[in-house]
Symmetry: none
Subunit: 311 residues, 3 copies
DNA sequence: ATAGGTTTTGTCAAGCTTTTGTACAT
DNA sequence: ATGTACAAAAGCTTGACAAAACCTAT
């Protein structure tokens, strides 16, 4: 049972919004302590996370709440056939068509990865990552295995088959792997300089970190500035590093305003700087900027094209 | 239930047009929230997408609306035999004539592909692509399997047997595959330079990307300029890269005007540059240009003939 | 049987709080001496440690107590199947998918490590550490093996499968290893100076010590100040060493207030000093500071970025 | 496409209560 | 050692506001 503060941290939703969603849409009804404090269970946190992801996809809050309840109830109904949900995890075949043996992109590793998360076994998770990244180019593995698998992990968690701790473990393991790859990719930075970061307040994003690695591997001199810089600081950083471009992720709906301001500010002061956008909310941002899509291969290619080829 | 903004994003139709189509032709009758906001269901989005594709093919809006309703009602009539639509997905045989065993272009993989989309299983979709592209030349696989399969996917979606998310997943997987192939094809660019792109405002197109790969493989030095360049910028890019030719896709009816302007501008300033056209609306464009048809094998051959063999 | 003072030392909880938890939540019911003094058994100490870890994760005290009792009772119930709990330790497979032999990140060593702790075999524990640190870079081994394994050790202890002495043995062995690595990393300190420590009253932390080693290896001139300095002393130390940055761990909930004060004081007197934060409570601290996350690779990279690059 | 009005939704504030670590008195 | 007291931190409810999104009609 989590306090409201903890629930807010776990879901990334503000405390005020948490209360508003409960009051207005009844998406959760947390238990109460004797004194009236809200006590959120794992079930509640999941419901909030689902609703949050829908809102970030562009649903209206009210509709997102309805859909969340619908999904959870349908899940419960499906689960009430007397079977242990744990069993079901392994009963559901995650891969249907048998592929030829030796194929490099089977999704067996995804299963092993998720099981490592279930057991909170960090070492095995790392082992899977090591094995995977040994099988193909970094970009290919990220686009075709890592990011889809992370989505799968999120789904498992949303269905209650994975604990919060399990999801965090996976996230940390991946972050460490990407950080190591980022370090390993340094050295051949003979290309133009790229600033890489997020709007202030956004959470750090694995996808953006993976992009940073790929950008380095493509020869860019990269500077990962994280989620700390307000608009004016972006400008100052561009000047200090004589950056030719910048790439910013816009992962959540609430990040849109801050991202817009940064794009406008940079557009005005440095119109020659190419601004690339990533993240699920990238299309909400206008102005002079490039929407890079959702594949790091494509995104890096796009930035290369813009910065290597003088108009 | 999507907000009007989200529905506009999903279909690529502007919010104002969405309201006009509803008012004038009644193609959709979205539910309303208590406050009167429109709420679009998956059914509505499909209707709009069908109408949009018709309009893009050149139909008048009114005719397109009638046809859309006709198609949907006939589908509903056919569907009202009491069967679960989900069952039907697997009951409908997707392959009619049995091919000789061992034939390289059976459509079993198409089925596996679509099932991966149903399950939102990115890894399996990628596995199918890998398997397919291992079986023949890039050009052959694209013309004879990929593009037809993508049409099949679109059809499945239009019939409600595939979610929006499923269709996006497929689209992204293909885009990643093509991007990788584009990168892999670089290196042997000893031929003339080709600019490849779309009119400003058009959506990026998988067919055009596939053409870019094939052009590279044929020895052209390709520059993929995307959908960003207005007419004058095309001219400037031609000069900067000393391009011998350019290829532009005209996928939608609304792109015709912009495409015409580009062709005219390039014709006037650089009459020696060969202009190739692709996309479903290619025949709407006149002037001095080549209509490349709908096969990338043919299209690349055509461009090679024009640019290698001096007239 | 421990006195209340000793129990307070073992768990890191103040004597007053120990009594309050007993009175208010009944989380433990220690025996009493003839004179009425509390006498804590190993079982009691574990309960208190579990509750303490939950409180440090952000649970409310009352909820943490309930959860602690729940966990202990469920454990007892599970344990009453007549089997020696010792056997169960080995029956639970810690690694499922067989990895290719020779892989560097199997978790067999973790098992050997825990067995050394069980047998109070300091030499074996050290041997495992030596073997591990020989297999990869210091940073990689810490992030991907040492820290996860220490978590595993904590879990074993919480389940009663490891004694207090066993856990201490492990802790000391690791501390010795890290201290040796810290010494070994000296010499090449040509970079900016970094102060490394904890808020007063906090326990020394293995994670922070590991960070200190990695910082040295990255070229920082490091000064490990431990948990002794109050806010004003941090300022004085910064001035005396002309430090460019400082890194502080915030491991427990009770450390938050002291940590906040230090950050505020340093921010006010030396706004140019970069403050990095680690530990599970790092996100509770605001002000001008950098949250370094939970990977020493990432953390050192972050500090390098901030201090090598003049704004 | 614009104008003018409405709905939706995240955030905040005021005033009050509960919780909890620590301190004090017996 | 025990019991009471206290103050800081965190939570609760109600009400309100402002920006964004949406509506209709012209």
């Amino acid at each position: 049972m989590y306090t409201i503060k903890r629930a807010a941290e776990l879901t990334g939703i503000s405390v005020a919004t948490l209360r508003a969603w409960e009051r207005r849409y009844g998406v959760v009804s947390p238990k109460r302590s004797d004194g009236g404090y809200r006590l959120y269970g794992a079930e509640d946190v999941r419901a909030l996370a689902i609703m949050n992801s829908l809102v970030n996809e562009g649903w209206s809050a009210r509709e997102a709440a309805t859909e969340t309840l619908r999904r959870l109830s349908s899940r419960d109904a499906a689960g009430k056939d007397g079977r242990d949900p744990r069993e079901r995890t392994h009963a559901v075949p995650r891969r249907v068509a048998p592929l030829r043996p030796g194929s490099r992109y089977q999704s067996e590793d995804a299963e092993a990865f998720i099981r490592a998360a279930e057991r909170l076994d960090s070492a095995s998770a790392t082992a899977v990552l090591d094995a995977r990244f040994g099988l193909g180019t970094f970009e290919h593995v990220v686009d075709d295995w890592l990011m889809p698998t992370l989505e799968l992990v999120g789904e498992e968690w949303a269905h209650g088959r994975l604990t919060v701790a399990g999801e965090h473990l996976v996230s940390y393991a991946v972050q460490r792997r990407l950080a190591a790859a980022y370090e390993a990719a340094s050295g051949r930075a003979d290309g133009p300089t790229l600033l890489i970061g997020l709007p202030p307040g956004a959470r750090h994003e694995l996808g953006l970190l993976a992009f940073a690695v790929a950008a380095r591997r493509a020869g860019f001199a990269t500077v990962y500035v994280g989620a700390d810089l307000p608009a004016e600081e972006w400008v100052r950083a561009i000047e200090a590093r004589r950056a030719a471009g910048m790439v910013m992720a816009v992962p959540r709906h609430v990040d849109i305003a801050a991202a817009r301001k940064i794009v406008e500010t940079v557009n005005r002061s440095h119109p020659e700087v190419v601004i690339g956008l990533g993240g699920s909310q990238q299309d909400e941002i206008g102005g002079s900027c490039v929407h890079l899509g959702h594949s790091i291969t494509v995104a890096v290619g796009e930035m290369s094209r813009r910065l290597r080829v003088p108009a």
